[in-house]
């Protein structure tokens, strides 16, 4: 029986400055009926390009430059692909909230789709309800009448999954379907996707950056790097014992939720961009590869069989098994204990919003009163899902908001009622690193003017002095001085986040409040930023409050952790204790929802009652909108 979809030496290229650059280079894989193939890689690896080829919607400047795509045994042309979209080939998009039209109800959007499928009009309603019920949406009639903003992210994604499956397609391409969702919802959506996929026997291509998740969900995975398939094989095998140095570093750069901790080995440099790819005739990973040899840079590696259905494209010494590489890892040194009086103290601090207009009289507790202290040089983690009050807590800590109850003390002095000199000192003590570097860096300032921004309030410092300080700061966050004259738009995501940190360091703070600072980054960049935070803590003794939805990040960095839910701390204590033997069922649920990096573990976990979690998350969203 032929595969549902087969890529045979597919190349896609773009013309840059007169030469053809291959964005996909001789990519081969196949997906059989009822199988799930995972395409794994970081941004820029060419994962989404595969989806573009399958849908026949290549951007205009790209060219299909070689190879064949077979769909159910016959060659798939762009025209055929486009005419089959929605019927034989369906897509599940990345951003569920923006994929639904905000001005149409779910019913209207599904009706459009029913028409496209060619279902008789009188069956539409019943069919939609049936399909929505299948994806686990309670009360489908009610959902049909709603608009996208009246649904939570998870519900939107369920609607989109229902739509994708409603045409009974033979192939579904899911492009990062859970990236925008909370970890608990992610586990639910993945579980659902697999259930429905099994029931209909659909072939699925799952595009993701998360190797652990792919390993648990998929039958087979292919790891992509800069347009090359570097490794392909049975999913669990690839996670358990990755052969290619890139797959290995992808796995190792993700901190683990169990077992001993190692200093995350971070690859030097970045995934090559369009312009650099042209200068890499051989193995595109060679320059960053720890095991390269002289030939690597000039020889194009081909996929070779290394085990049962397991292929690796490497001309170097990747055959050295991963066990021997593990010895290169350094055990994470334990962090010193915080000492002295607390640097930041929250006493019964709470935040309540009063409803206005229609909601007059209703109160919304963004943060229920809590007490908490952060010691000198302490690394404190705060975890929770969206709407748990994490960001409110961060804003209260740095003083961007004043609490409606309780007091915040910095270095023993209450913030409310502090004199302007004391307030200035507090600002220098506690600084914040913002979540989204695109929004946090003024696009019209150069890096130099960004990091030395605080010095503009010191007229006694001359321009050359400022320049020197900027240079030192940028060096402190591990960037070269030639970046100083660039604008944020000329930097990569990781570099922007470093500049973001450098700016906060300018006033020599003793506490950094970092709100989700690694959430938008690729794992290898995330590893670099986390190691940087660790280094700042060791060398300068800066305390860090790390706010994250990612439990493994918190486990890697923090000694103490707070688990938050609905504006309330449900559990707190030393990280090892809380993660090792969680007392609160919510902590356990969070821990179980993270895809394990142990290939033998069962994930997603069997269904449990989580309705409450989703429901309260929704009321929060509704209130904010």
């Amino acid at each position: 029986m032929p595969a549902v979809l087969e890529f045979k030496d597919v190349s896609v290229s773009v013309r840059v400055a007169g030469t053809d650059v291959a964005l996909l280079r001789n990519v081969s894989f196949d997906v059989g009926k009822g199988r799930i193939l995972g395409l794994v890689g970081e941004s820029g690896a060419g994962k989404s390009m595969v989806g573009r080829v399958v849908s026949g919607l290549l951007p205009e400047n790209l060219r299909f430059s070689g190879g064949h795509v077979y769909f159910q045994g016959s060659e798939l042309t762009g025209r055929k692909a486009r005419s089959w979209l929605g019927r034989r080939i369906a897509f599940i998009p990345q951003e569920p909230l923006s994929a639904l039209n905000p001005v149409l109800t779910v019913r209207q959007q599904m009706a459009e789709h029913m028409k496209h499928i060619g279902l008789p009009r009188r069956q539409w309603e019943a069919y939609c309800i049936e399909r929505l019920a299948e994806v686990g949406l309670p009360d489908p009639e009610d959902i049909l009448g709603r608009y996208a903003h009246q649904l939570s992210g998870g519900q939107c994604q369920r609607v989109l999954i229902a739509m994708a499956f409603s045409g009974d397609p033979e192939l579904i391409v899911a492009d990062e379907p859970t990236t925008a969702l909370d970890v608990v919802i992610q586990a639910q959506i993945v579980r659902l996707l697999r259930q429905v996929q099994r029931k209909h026997g659909t072939a699925v291509i799952l595009i993701t950056h998360d190797l652990s998740m792919a390993a648990h969900v998929c039958d087979e995975v292919a790891v992509l790097y800069a347009g090359d398939v570097v490794e392909r094989g049975p999913a669990r095998k690839v996670l358990e014992a990755p052969w290619h140095p890139y797959s290995w570093s992808l796995k190792m750069a993700t901190p683990s939720l169990s077992g001993p901790q190692y200093v995350l080995p971070a690859l030097a440099d970045l995934m090559p961009g369009l312009n650099q790819i042209a200068e890499l005739p051989g193995c595109r990973f060679a320059r960053r590869c720890p095991t390269r040899n002289a030939e690597c840079e000039n020889r194009v590696p081909v996929l070779e069989r290394v085990g049962d259905a397991h292929f690796v494209a490497c001309g170097g010494q990747c055959r050295a098994d991963s066990a021997s590489r593990k010895t290169e890892l350094h055990v994470l040194p334990s962090i010193g204990n915080p000492h002295g009086r607390p640097l930041l103290e929250l006493r019964d601090v709470g935040m309540t919003y009063r409803g206005q207009g229609r909601r007059k009289g209703q109160h919304f507790h963004a943060l229920k009163p809590l007490s908490l202290s952060v010691g000198q040089g302490e690394l404190l983690g705060v975890v929770g899902e969206s709407g748990s009050g994490k960001s409110t807590l961060a804003r209260l800590m740095v003083g961007l908001m004043a609490p409606t109850a309780g007091t915040v003390h910095v270095d023993g002095v209450a913030r409310s009622g502090a004199s302007s000199r004391e307030a200035a000192k507090m600002r220098e003590t506690v600084q914040m690193v913002f979540q989204d570097p695109d929004s946090a860096l003024n696009p019209r300032r150069t890096v130099e003017r960004l990091v030395a921004q605080a010095l503009e309030l010191r007229p006694d410092l001359g321009a050359s002095e400022r320049g020197r300080i900027a240079e030192r700061l940028i060096d402190q966050v591990g960037m070269a001085a030639d970046a100083l004259q660039r604008f944020p738009s000329q930097l990569s995501g990781g570099q922007k986040q470093r500049v973001n940190i450098a700016r906060a360091l300018c006033v020599a703070p003793r506490l950094l409040v970092a709100d989700e600072i690694v959430s938008g980054l690729d794992v290898s960049v995330q590893a670099l930023i986390m190691n940087l935070l660790l280094q700042l803590n060791r060398e300068l003794g800066i305390a860090v409050v790390l706010i994250s939805h990612d439990l493994s990040v918190v486990r890697y960095l923090c000694q103490r952790v707070l688990v938050m839910r609905h504006g309330e701390v449900v559990e707190q204590g030393p990280t090892d204790e809380v993660f090792g033997s969680p007392k609160h069922p919510y902590t356990r649920l969070l821990l179980d929802s993270v895809p394990s990096d142990d290939a033998g573990a069962v994930w997603p976990p069997p269904e449990r009652s989580e309705g409450g979690v989703a429901a309260v998350g929704r009321t929060v969203l509704e209130f904010q909108s």
């Binding site: 200035a424 220098e428 913002f434 929004s439 946090a440 503009e456 000329q490 906060a504």
Partner: protein
Amino acid sequence: MTVLTMNQQARRLSGAARIFSHPKVAIGGAMVLLFVLVAVFAPWLAPNDPNAQDLLATLLPPAWADGGMVQYPLGTDSLGRCVLSRLIYGSRIALIVAVVAATGTMLLGTTLAILAGYLRGGFDRATSFVVVLWMAFPPVVFSMMLMVGLGTGVRNVILAVVLVDWTRFYRVVRAEVIVARQREYVQAARLLGFSHLRIMLREVLPGVAPLIITLFSLQMGVAIIVEAILSFVGLSVPSNVVAWGVMLADGRDQIYQAGWNLLAPVCGIVFAVLAFNLLSDGLRVVLDPRLRRKGGE
């Protein structure tokens, strides 16, 4: 250090080159430049005194038509005044009104918009209410009322334009300021201890500057039209000053005998307004970072 400043200069130059490489900016900019040059050098360019009457040669056709005189290239009006000279001198009033009125409108509208958008609260509600009320008046009637109240003269024309049109700046800029103040870099500046005034000037204003430049350019075109309307109804400049609107009013009576009398100021107005609109539209595209290609510097 010298290398550094040279680099910066090079970047600035290439930035200007990029802006003027856009066809609308290039054409609009060239037209505006021509307009400005004509206005500035009017005494040297005009063949005759714009107010000198040659009662022996009234309503002459253009020089190339039958009965035209080389001395009056575009003919004369009913009082025997040179149409070309009046057209050239008329551009001076148009330019003064355009530049001064647009600047005033921009200053008033932008200042209030940044204050309201940044501070929000009561100030924002109060100014926004005033703006809504203000915009309920029909603009032409409103400016005529103002002129009747203030009296004629170029200065009052400018004042009328400013008082009528500042709301346009206010509405558009305020919306953008509200977006800009939500950005995390504004909050970061607050955490670094920047004062509100400093944040408004250093963080918010640069972000909305492209929008202001675009609106400014558009407003110059609007000011020219308003001035023409007011001088057409005789509420603008005294009779010894040449303005395009006055020429329109004068030429209206002889529209069938001497159409060129009317056509000349119309062409002047269309040329000037088109120039500013083209420039504004082009600037909107080249200065908007969202429409700019990444790393396109």
